[in-house]
Symmetry: C2
Subunit: 378 residues, 2 copies
């Protein structure tokens, strides 16, 4: 029967990480539970929503944890409720002790709270994975490439495969992440330091966003393992499992054309601000587009919403070359594309008013490329 | 036709204050507009939702405003939309100019936005008030007494009068604010520095909460004026009108009994924390009450939710006198009452398990008194 004491703040931090995998409105009621497993070495917290699962280990060797285990065991507790109780405790430490019938007594200061739990046998088994030959990612790099791509995935379930991000490793070290909702696309490429086996998988963009929140910046590297239907991201204390999306991802390489007719470089911040004003006015009308006009060395953006009003913006450019062109598109896509760019300037290349245009960082590095499809207005 | 230029940040601040009176989902569509009136002296912004109305004056004499008026006039603009546009402008200043057909052109940096407005004749007239012999409140004092009482008003429309706060002035300087939802009551009394005429009104608690947000702490005093159906709070630049609730407010004085059988004083923070834990567990069961037991010099709090678990809390007291007593109540009411107390300690006085108990600041000042009705559990 479980018995341990622990620092409240430390415990709470670990609980909150694990909670990210737990939904209180799950179709499988038992998944609203948190699993606590106490061994002589430490505590393993497990949470899952069927799509993602998180295992968080608190080692008794960790000085900050204040963890002192008197007796091992395991139990299921209603996650939200348990975490709220822990966070409301009066003292800096707490004792947790299991009593008969899967109940735990939590003591802290002058407070004593008894909670009903459940037998761990009721919890579904997580699928096991072989953990050999990991791919190793720098955590920051991994989180950056998620931030650069996941937003471009579809949020609609009409084509489920497009709600994911396509991860591909080719030629041992050439890694590529790409997402598209069929209106825009974002692709990041990078070279891994260590060679890995070829893979080609699609990860739910939702899982990737949770992953970014779970692996904090103090965790330097993350090991990555694959199986046919899931992927494991692992640091010293955290194992993050996510299911993969099934199906073939569309061929996005054919969308990237290297020729172009018109090219401009401008400041990300001022272009974004101009597009935000354009969005405000365009959003009030039905077509919701902005018209970009490149003419005689001048770039201007126009919106005309008969009901509401008009916007005219002069866009300052640092470079401008090629043919004159007028192209219409949804300003939201350009705003989101610019948000994903870390660089100060952006290079935009146009082929024609009816062909997608590309965005790359202003320094012309092609490892991060985005694509936006125009809207035909006549 | 309007023409002026103004500092963007300053204008935005004034717009956001006025916006507090404007709802985009009003039954009267024209009330989603903001009224701009420009005179040689400055700009008056007006917003109203029919319940509250705010007039905000920006003086040309205010150095920070950067206001320069070239031509007076007036116009109605869709409030939310206009404010979003202003906040998105690129430069620190903006020019606004009216052109034909109630349109305005806003210029800032390299951006030019044209918005459609409406004729001010379409805007309803605010009811005028005679502004003589104001009552003068210290702003902080006024906001404090709102924070101490408004939360206790009812949120249900079944007895509309209870959604208000009762303001009464008697004997020229004796002011009282009281709110009750029939389960609990909160009353603040204070003596005004300057004598005023007798009044007895009920103000919507919602209006009072907006008022607290509108009059910032840098405004030292607020003048108050009454009419039969509305009340005006006025500072140098802001006029805040609210409708009064109609009907007789129940007699709350009879609820305050001076005799008691049991009295305790304890720390607000630790009692509140204990009640928050009690709430977490009690909230999971149907009756949702906590049982307070005063017995042989000990105070304990108990919750027993058969489905979920139990709470036992020892409550430390600084003073404890009188008869033993066991009383049950909804911990939410005690938590909210303790939140409203600015003092470190609270004095609680009980008459019997079936009679309301009172809370006052620990120093026994009776100018702020709260009352909570127990729940009969058997």
């Amino acid at each position: 029967m479980i018995k341990f004491s622990i620092n409240k703040a430390f415990f709470l931090q670990s609980l909150n990480i694990t909670k990210r995998a737990i939904s209180s409105k799950n179709a499988i009621p038992i998944l609203s539970s948190l699993k606590l497993e106490i061994s002589q070495e430490g505590i393993t917290l497990t949470g899952s929503n069927g799509q993602i699962s998180i295992e968080h280990f608190i080692s008794q060797d960790n000085q900050n944890s204040g963890l002192l285990i008197s007796s091992p065991g395991s139990i299921l507790l209603e996650a939200n409720f348990f975490i709220n109780i822990i966070s409301s405790l009066p003292d800096v430490t707490l004792d947790l002790e299991e009593i008969e019938h899967h109940q735990v007594v939590i003591r802290s200061g002058k407070s004593e709270i008894t909670l009903k739990g459940k037998d761990v046998d009721q919890y579904p088994r997580l699928q096991e994975m072989t953990t050999q030959n990991p791919l190793v990612f720098n955590t920051k790099l991994l989180k950056n490439l998620i931030a650069e791509t996941a937003f471009a995935a579809s949020t609609q379930e009409s084509r489920p495969i497009l709600t994911g991000v396509h991860f591909v490793l080719q030629n041992e070290t050439a890694f590529k992440a790409v997402a598209t909702d069929s209106h825009r696309m974002s692709q990041r490429q990078l070279n891994l330091d260590k060679a890995g086996d070829h893979f080609d998988v699609v990860l739910p963009s939702k899982s990737l966003r949770e992953l970014s929140a779970v692996f904090t910046d103090d965790i330097e590297t993350v090991e990555v393992f694959f199986s046919t239907n899931q992927m494991l991201f692992r640091s010293e204390n955290i194992s993050f499992y996510t299911r993969l999306l099934e199906g073939a991802y569309p061929d996005t390489d054919r969308l990237l054309v290297s020729s172009f007719e018109t090219e401009m470089v401008c400041q990300v911040a001022s272009l974004r601000s101009a597009m935000e004003r354009a969005f405000l006015v365009s959003n009030a009308s039905q077509n919701g587009t902005v018209k970009l006009e490149i003419k005689q060395g001048q770039v201007t953006a126009h919106v005309n919403s008969p009901e509401v009003g008009k916007v005219n913006e002069q866009i300052e450019t640092e470079e401008l070359a090629g043919n004159d062109l007028t192209i219409s598109f949804n300003p939201t896509y350009l705003i989101e594309a610019l948000k994903a760019l870390k660089s100060e300037t952006v290079r935009i290349r146009f082929i024609s008013p009816v062909r997608p245009f590309t965005l790359t960082p202003g320094d012309a590095s092609e490892n991060f490329v985005q694509l936006i499809t125009p809207v035909r207005t006549n």
